[in-house]
């Protein structure tokens, strides 16, 4: 960014630069479709969707907990299910060599998926 675009800043310049880098990584590599990464591109898409659903399930679980309407058995069952899901997700991510950052698709005006 040209210096003259910075109109005002306050606080630590270094910290600001660090945070800006996180939002807009300097070297945004463009996705080139080659046979190798078309496959991993698909994996990315599928896993992102699964991760989205998993997170939604987590949120729903939290609301049920807050609602104070669950029995001991239900709590145990809920915990076990979510734990297994997360564990499975980690496995899949390892298999396809994807990190959480990779899965965070940017939907343009809608922001990031996760």
């Amino acid at each position: 960014m040209e210096e003259d675009k910075i109109l005002f800043y306050a606080g630590s310049a270094n910290e600001i630069i660090e945070e800006l880098e996180k939002i807009n990584p300097g070297d945004q590599t463009r996705i080139n479709a080659t046979p190798e990464n078309v496959e991993s591109g698909l994996a990315k898409l599928v896993l992102t969707l699964i991760e989205l659903i998993r997170k939604l399930m987590e949120k729903q679980a939290m609301r049920r907990i807050e609602g104070n309407s669950l029995t001991e058995d239900q709590i145990e069952h809920l915990g076990e299910t979510l734990m297994k899901l997360e564990y499975k997700m980690e496995e899949l991510k390892k298999i396809f060599n994807l990190t959480d950052k990779d899965l965070n698709l940017n939907l343009g005006p809608l922001g990031d998926l996760l």
Partner: protein
């Protein structure tokens, strides 16, 4: 022969004598700009001698630089890197087909500039905030999660993360509301983007009338003095990338 499109604007702006017309307009980068017009619109383009766009960071920046130069002089709909059509005839077809869309979008951004305002947790404050949250949370978890089974502990951890996240979101909302109250003095057109990193509290883009830059600066300085614990950065003016978004047919 491929044609690169940089911006679309109202033809009347080009005719404006006080803007000294076209002769004094240079893209500042050695690229020769041409004006191609149809209906009431003009597209600023250049013809590309070779067929490949290399996508290199340099090219992307050069393109953005040209759009920025154009936007300083005219109110435009800025294009993004990669806006290339096959021929000049395609440019005029584009203008004619989407004339109403473009005119409406141009009205929204006429004589206005886009700015970006971001607030970040300072690292110190972020640590403090997180610590406070943790203390808060461990204080009173729901009874049903106390039991020290593997599943319950898992859920407890998740629950604490969930509460922490909710607190953070609420905190962000309060700050955003406060910022919005400040900004309303200078514009009503503000878009608070969803924050994507933990440290980011506010990531807003706003559209204000050209010439009100100093007012905005004063406002932001005043606002910042209320939140000295946070890092603030205001950048601009930018071509109205966010507010000139159009969906083409």
């Amino acid at each position: 022969m491929p044609v690169i499109v940089y911006a679309i604007l109202d033809s009347k702006q080009v005719i404006d004598a006080s803007s000294h017309g076209i002769s004094s307009f240079s893209s500042g980068s050695g690229v020769e700009l041409e004006f191609v017009s149809a209906s009431t619109l003009t597209a600023m383009v250049s013809s590309q001698s070779d067929n490949t766009l290399s996508n290199s960071r340099q090219e992307v920046l050069a393109y953005a630089g040209i759009v920025d130069t154009i936007s300083k002089k005219y109110s435009i709909l800025p294009m993004r890197y990669g806006s290339v059509v096959a021929s000049y005839a395609d440019v005029t077809a584009l203008l004619e087909k989407n004339s109403e869309l473009f005119v409406n979008a141009l009205n929204k951004v006429m004589n206005k500039e886009e700015y970006s305002l971001r607030l970040f947790f300072s690292h110190q404050h972020q640590d403090d905030f997180v610590h406070e949250q943790n203390v808060d949370i461990t204080r009173s978890p729901p009874e049903i999660l106390l039991g020290n089974t593997e599943n319950k502990n898992y859920l407890l951890k998740k629950y604490q993360q969930h509460i922490a996240e909710e607190k953070r979101i609420n905190y962000i909302k309060t700050i955003q509301l406060a910022v919005a109250k400040y900004l309303v003095n200078v514009t009503e057109i503000v878009d608070f983007k969803k924050t994507t990193t933990f440290g980011c509290i506010v990531d807003a883009v706003l559209l204000i009338d050209k010439g009100r830059k100093n007012e905005l600066l004063e406002l932001v300085a005043a606002m910042q003095s209320i939140y000295p614990e946070h890092n603030v950065i205001l950048t601009g003016p930018w071509p109205p990338y966010t507010f000139a978004q159009i969906k083409l047919e």
